[in-house]
Point group: C2
Chain length 150, copies 2
DNA sequence: CCAATGAGTCTCCTGAGGGAACTATCATCG
DNA sequence: CGATGATAGTTCCCTCAGGAGACTCATTGG
């Protein structure tokens, strides 16, 4: 939890940040996405403190991003899996990867690649307009007040 | 600065978070993007503490996301504007908005709308494959190790 | 029986964020 | 000429969140 809650702001960015804006949350999401589903695996992979990991997982479950599922009853063991809502957040991670690859990867090149199953090519995501299908970057749009504006 | 630096990780998500992952940074970026460029305007609009705002702005300038530009020499006054690197980060914000609109906006509807200048329609961004142009979500790809993997 | 595994909980310490006052430079108004 | 105000920060103190690591508890394998 950050000091100041963003949730009250009439802004989808602030509200999204309220869900995954805390430190570690996006990396936890990334790990669960690539198949690191258990508490100890996550803790070891990230080097996060166990206390914070407990808090973050509980929050992400509460927000409907992750599902805490029992995979063994004796002894009781749980793993964390993405919900649909959480999987859509991973689209956001792919866009972050795209930016990080372009601006921070250096000459070593990108650490991971994505192969698009539909076409088989290694590719990255491009943002396009839902209406016309053309490229849609932040510099290609005008911002207007919407119905939910305060 | 978060407690643990993410920059050392071989992960474009972690490295991107290192640039804009701290609390407030994405909201500062949003404000600058929509034309809130001055220190006091930002401080009032966000309700952020002045100390933290100073730190965040300095960091974003250092990272090449914002440019600190003198717009008056007597008295000396500065404003913050996006660089190209920073503008590309705003693409990421649009994707966050998309997710926030879908999952957190509620019945009031989205607080802001984007009009795509190329086609004139109010629209949102869709992620597509850079190779084939088809929809490319996190569930549509396989993750492979890249050249920059550790 | 002992050690290991999985999944947390607890405690202590440090340092980042919040709040608010203080500073400095110039412009303008009465 | 002094008061006021805008702009852009600094500085101070205090609280609380994060880091590190030890401890817990149930169960299982050797």
């Amino acid at each position: 939890m950050q000091r100041t809650q963003f949730a009250g702001m009439a802004c989808s960015i602030a509200r999204t940040l309220d869900v995954i804006g805390e430190p570690w949350s996006p990396l936890i999401l990334r790990d669960v996405y690539v198949g690191i589903n258990r508490f100890d695996q996550l803790q070891r992979d990230l080097g996060i403190s166990r206390k914070v990991l407990t808090q973050r997982l509980a929050w992400l479950v509460e927000q409907g991003i992750l599902d805490r599922r029992e995979y063994s009853s004796r002894p009781v063991r749980h793993e964390y899996v993405l919900t649909g809502k959480g999987a859509e957040l991973c689209d956001l991670l792919m866009v972050m990867v795209r930016w990080g690859d372009r601006w921070t990867a250096g000459e070593a090149g990108p650490p991971v690649l994505y192969r698009h199953r539909a076409c088989g090519n290694v590719a990255h995501v491009e943002p396009v307009c839902s209406a016309c299908g053309g490229p849609m970057h932040a510099t290609d749009v005008d911002v207007l007040p919407g119905p939910g504006a305060r």
